[in-house]
């Protein structure tokens, strides 16, 4: 019986999406984005992640800080997620940190990014470029193979 109740409780957690009123700013999408970036960052770097997001919004700061140590400056970060358009990109481009983007075209045209989380046909996608993974000596786990592409 106890197991049955436990199962029911677990199932209700699985489906419980109901809310009364959404009085707080809705953060679930940012939350999932943050979780995905956390998975990618921890799989790519085997040291403590210090994340920098240019022009981070208040909500992003609140949500991302649950999963990362945030870096106020690019120079002190080891993982940079560029999810906005940054004018002239005055970012600390060098080999000491990894760059990830949310823009597929940026990934294709700019070698500094090793991967992207972007939307296509109403579905979120992740792409890593094999050549850039090799160059940056990033060893991703086997479960990431489906996201790695050879260009």
């Amino acid at each position: 019986m106890r197991v049955f109740i436990l199962l029911l409780t677990l199932l209700s957690f699985l489906f419980a999406e109901n809310y009364t009123f959404l009085v707080q700013p809705y953060s679930k999408e940012v939350e999932l984005e943050a979780k995905i970036i956390a998975e990618i960052a921890t799989a790519s770097l085997h040291v403590k992640i210090k994340l920098f997001i240019p022009h981070m919004s208040e909500m992003e700061e609140k949500v991302y800080s649950k999963y990362f140590t945030l870096s106020p400056k690019c120079e002190t970060a080891n993982f940079v997620f560029v999810n906005k358009n940054v004018e002239n990109e005055p970012l600390c481009d060098n080999a000491n940190r990894l760059f990830f983007t949310n823009n597929y075209r940026k990934l294709l045209t700019n070698d500094k990014y090793f991967g992207a989380l972007f939307w296509n046909k109403s579905r979120p996608n992740i792409v890593f470029i094999q050549k850039r993974l090799d160059e940056k000596a990033i060893a991703l786990p086997k479960t990431f193979d489906q996201f790695v592409e050879n260009f």
Partner: protein, 631 residues
């Protein structure tokens, strides 16, 4: 051991943060379309992308026809028209429709019916419907129901899509959507659509139809701080019963072309300063011939033989709307303030208006330009973590070039949102607002009392919501008092000289069987202090879900019957069901049976200036087949 394995498996399903599972959850969260909801505007119903897909809503009216405290009818021109419960209005000014930031109602009569009512949803991400006054937050013209249509995001689509449907009645539609995002942060989404309308009914042995063609085009060009929206639609259709005295015109046509451009720019790091500029141009033509006469109210003459009107009539009109809006939001301790300025200019130009007896009728009144200046202020104050108080005020000044006097209106609203526990929520608003007469109201005013006044609305609402596990239960109560209600009598618009009162209570229950399967029940009942000429009770039961490559739904929408002037309008049970088969993630086929029981709602029409009445069905029984391909 088996139980432990089962639990282990369940646990891994539950807590697996594998990228695949996270991507899946990211998509389904996005499909729930909760990112734009604003609880402070009023009582809200959200039609998410997921629900639009599962329920096979193809047009905006598919959604609107099930809305509670709301009736959707066909008017004399064969256009769908929206009324508050219990009453049937010919054109509706209570409802404000927006595509993203742009309000799309007509500059002439404030209705959306002719141009945008049957808007295809192929390029729409989600729809939010607020019962409450929106103009406090957005500076737009006033209203009661507020329908916000959000188009799909180019950033999330980045693809092309073809949608097409055909019904067993021969109506059909084809759409193409294309979107892309660029390296520099800009993205675009464009949409084009063509639709053939087939709607025919028999009255008095004569076929009435509103057959015709519609085109829609839409373009969104945005980056993080700028948004340019361009919309175009043209509609050409027959005029159904038209304005014929005998409700059976010899011939007639409605033509409308609508164009708008809307530009929004956000300033400052936190985007708290917003500027918006828009221009709308609407060309509208109408023609009708009828040997028994046409009831164009300002041209009706009365003699001892009775009333008579022209035998042929045509008009070509142009309306323009120019709007400028500037708002600033800022927080001070627990207060969130929004303050805004809005200026709107509307013009009405008669390019041609003639009848068989007068080739140059020109304007019906000198009132052809109006400028509305508004000042808005909102404070939402977080008294405690679980209690938010909202206060709004808006001052509107109507500057009219002639005929009607300039006027000003003070609008007020107070509300509270209380969420004492995670399971309980309460919301209440008191609103005082005014709806000014439109160009159309003035053109068609009763000639014996032509000086129309603004309608004054005072209403309060109370909503309680309880959630438990997968269930959500809600009750909403509303009480509305209307002074100077503008009513279309058979001889033109008049202000009703007494207070009209309406009261309603609404029950809503949702149960999520799984992430994909849901049952939704809704029932409302209302009372109106006047003679009822539309349904006052209604509800729906709908079930939607999916299994593997199939999605399916069934729904039944109920509206109660009533008696009016000796006519007995029966209960309506509009039942539909449908299935979608997903051949791949990008290709799907759907089939939907509409109005299976052939118990459609009916609308009332009158003949000979209200001396006779009759009713016609609003919808046919039909089957729709559709296809969606993304590439």
């Amino acid at each position: 051991m088996k139980i432990i394995l089962l639990l282990g498996l369940l646990g891994s399903l539950l807590f697996s943060d594998s990228l695949d599972a996270l991507l899946q959850e990211y998509k389904s969260t996005s499909d729930n379309s909760l990112q734009t909801v604003n609880e402070k505007i009023g009582h809200v119903v959200i039609y998410s992308q997921k629900e639009i897909r599962l329920m096979q809503y193809t047009k905006l009216n598919d959604i609107l026809k099930e809305l509670p405290l709301f009736n959707i009818n066909t008017n004399q021109f064969g256009l769908t028209n929206y009324s508050l419960t219990g009453s049937k209005t010919t054109t509706s000014g209570f409802f404000r429709f927006f595509i993203n930031d742009h309000e799309i109602s007509s500059g002439y009569d404030q209705s959306t019916s002719l141009s945008w009512g049957d808007l295809p949803l192929d390029f729409v991400d989600h729809v939010e419907i607020y019962y409450g006054e929106s103009s406090f937050s957005f500076g737009n013209e006033t209203g009661i129901y507020f329908v916000r249509i959000y188009t799909k995001s180019a950033l999330k689509e980045n693809s092309s899509e073809i949608n097409s449907w055909i019904t067993s009645k021969g109506a059909n539609s084809q759409s193409f959507t294309n979107s892309s995002s660029f390296e520099n942060g800009w993205s675009y989404l464009m949409f084009i659509n063509q639709e053939k309308v087939k709607e025919t009914t028999i009255y008095n042995g004569q076929k009435l139809n509103s057959n015709g063609t519609k085109h829609y085009a839409y373009m969104d060009l945005s980056n993080e701080t700028s948004k340019i929206n361009i919309g175009y639609t043209d509609v050409s259709k027959n005029n159904y019963t038209g304005l014929a005295f005998d409700a059976t015109p010899d011939s007639g046509k409605n033509l409308s072309k609508d164009f708008f451009i809307n530009y929004t720019q956000y300033f400052l790091e936190d985007k708290s300063l917003k500027a918006n500029l828009s221009v709308d141009v609407n060309d509208r033509s109408y023609e009708e011939t009828n040997t028994q006469g046409i009831a164009v109210v300002p041209l009706i003459t009365f003699s001892h033989y009775g009333p008579s009107g022209p035998k042929s009539y045509s008009e070509d009109l142009r309306f323009t709307k120019t709007n400028a809006y500037l708002s600033k939001s800022f927080d001070v301790e627990d207060n969130s303030f929004i303050t805004a300025l809005n200026v709107k200019n509307k013009t009405y130009d008669v390019q041609n208006r003639q009848s068989n007896t007068n080739s140059d009728i020109g304007r019906f009144s000198a009132f052809d330009e109006e400028t509305i200046s508004s000042l808005l202020f909102q404070d939402s104050y977080k008294l405690r973590d679980d209690l938010i108080l909202v206060a709004n005020t808006k001052l509107d000044y109507y500057d009219r070039n002639a005929y009607l006097k300039d006027s000003s209106e003070t609008l007020l609203r107070f509300g509270a949102i209380y969420t004492p526990t995670e399971n309980w929520g309460f919301k209440s608003f008191y609103t005082q607002t005014a709806l000014a007469p439109s160009f159309y109201n003035v053109d068609y005013a009763d000639t014996s009392k032509p000086k129309l006044k603004s309608q004054q609305y005072h209403f309060y609402t109370l909503e309680g919501v309880y959630t438990e596990g997968n269930s959500k239960f809600g009750i909403t109560y509303d009480h509305v008092n209307i002074d100077d209600f503008i009513y279309l009598s058979p001889v033109g618009f008049i202000n009703i000289d007494h207070t009209i009162t309406s009261e309603g209570i609404l029950f809503d229950y949702e149960y999520s069987l799984s992430d994909r399967d849901k049952i939704h029940l809704n029932y409302y009942t209302s009372s109106l202090s006047e003679t009822i000429n539309n349904s006052t009770k209604g509800g729906y039961i709908k079930y939607m879900g999916g299994y593997q490559k199939f999605d399916y739904f069934t729904s039944i929408i109920y509206r109660n019957g009533y008696d009016y002037e000796g006519l007995n309008i029966p209960d309506s049970f509009d039942m539909s069901l449908g299935v979608t088969y997903h051949v791949t993630k990008d290709l799907s086929y759907s089939i939907k049976a509409n109005n299976i029981l052939d118990r459609s709602t009916q609308s009332l029409y009158f003949t000979n200036l209200g001396t006779g009445f009759f009713a016609l069905d609003d919808n046919d029984r039909s089957v729709t087949f559709s296809i969606r391909w993304v590439f």
